[in-house]
Symmetry: C2
Subunit: 198 residues, 2 copies
């Protein structure tokens, strides 16, 4: 008694998803076949569609269906500021603040030498070319405040400054509504060290 | 700035997978597009293939590509014993023991009134018809020892016994190699209550 080969292939194929091991791939396959045939068909189509239509924006590197994305094409954005984020999701979060009116560059990752992710994987050359277009005055590094995000920001800052660009980093500190009593001491220490003059 | 619609559709479509919320669907979509284009194409094909080719075995209800599965077609299996399991994965585990030589019936679930899963959803009528084929002498209930699995076994036992069939339940107790010191007391209590005469 073997698992039918189409079922086995589906279970194997599901393991391509991040964080999905053999057990959950099996559970997912049974769930789809048993309770979500329509959803599974939709997923198959969505995957094929996305693979066919989506690619990287020629300017900011985010995912788009056009050659250059909507935001890069928007004539009303400020060409002098370039905000560097790790992922498209970070770009969207940034846009939700309604505060930033400049342009973006999406690294599609972060430096992580232990995982073999070097400057080439975060499209470092394209970022340098993009930032050197003659219009960009300031590069705002908005990578995460994780170890990898910080290392990435540090690396990019050095290289961009060496090319005469003004470089900044989004602020670190207490969240809005944050109370000292409930904040971790690492954040509180940084908030103290990076205090602003009033 | 909006997410491209094909990307949005892929993220929505991924949420059909069990245990995948909006955040992990987004992470999965980016991962597939960024690092696993070939894997995503394979997944799209595997889904379409599985939906087209797999259906339930007419006899035991497991997934198969034929009308009746390999195991149900095997002339060397014992027709007098019918082992009832919740899922195809349980059937495979059972086969790996190499101890059982009878036939199977796969419920494709378990009774769970709180989730609205009743006798119809576990194909109760088909099980009754299968067990009443005149050849089956003993039905071995091998649902899990969870609350739902136990309730399912209890329900099935009553109905099957009422039709004059001999019904049994797989044993509960310490695992092979299990040490009393490390076993939970519920299992130990049951192992004591259900002790065998030697």
């Amino acid at each position: 008694m073997k698992t039918p080969s189409t079922l086995e292939q589906l279970i194997q194929a599901l393991r391509v998803l991040p964080g999905v091991g053999p057990k959950s791939a099996q559970r997912m396959a049974y769930h789809l076949l048993q309770h979500e045939q329509a959803g599974a068909a939709r997923l198959a189509r969505a995957l094929a569609d996305a693979l066919q239509k989506l690619h990287h924006c020629a300017r900011c590197n985010t995912f788009t269906e056009q050659e250059v994305c909507e935001l890069c094409n928007d004539p009303y954005r400020d060409d002098s500021q370039l905000c560097v984020v790790e992922m498209p999701a970070d770009l969207l979060r940034m846009e939700q603040t309604l505060v930033f009116k400049g342009r973006y560059f999406v690294l599609m990752g972060r430096l992580s030498p232990l995982d073999g992710i070097g400057p080439r994987d975060i499209h470092f050359d394209r970022l340098l070319a993009r930032a050197s277009d003659g219009k960009v005055r300031e590069v705002i590094l908005s990578t995460n405040f994780t170890v990898e995000g910080e290392a990435t920001a540090h690396y990019l800052a050095e290289s961009l400054r060496a090319r005469g660009l003004q470089v900044s980093r989004i602020a670190r500190g207490l969240p809005v509504g944050g109370e000292l009593e409930h904040i971790d001491s690492g954040t509180l220490a940084q908030a103290l060290i990076e205090r602003r003059a009033l």
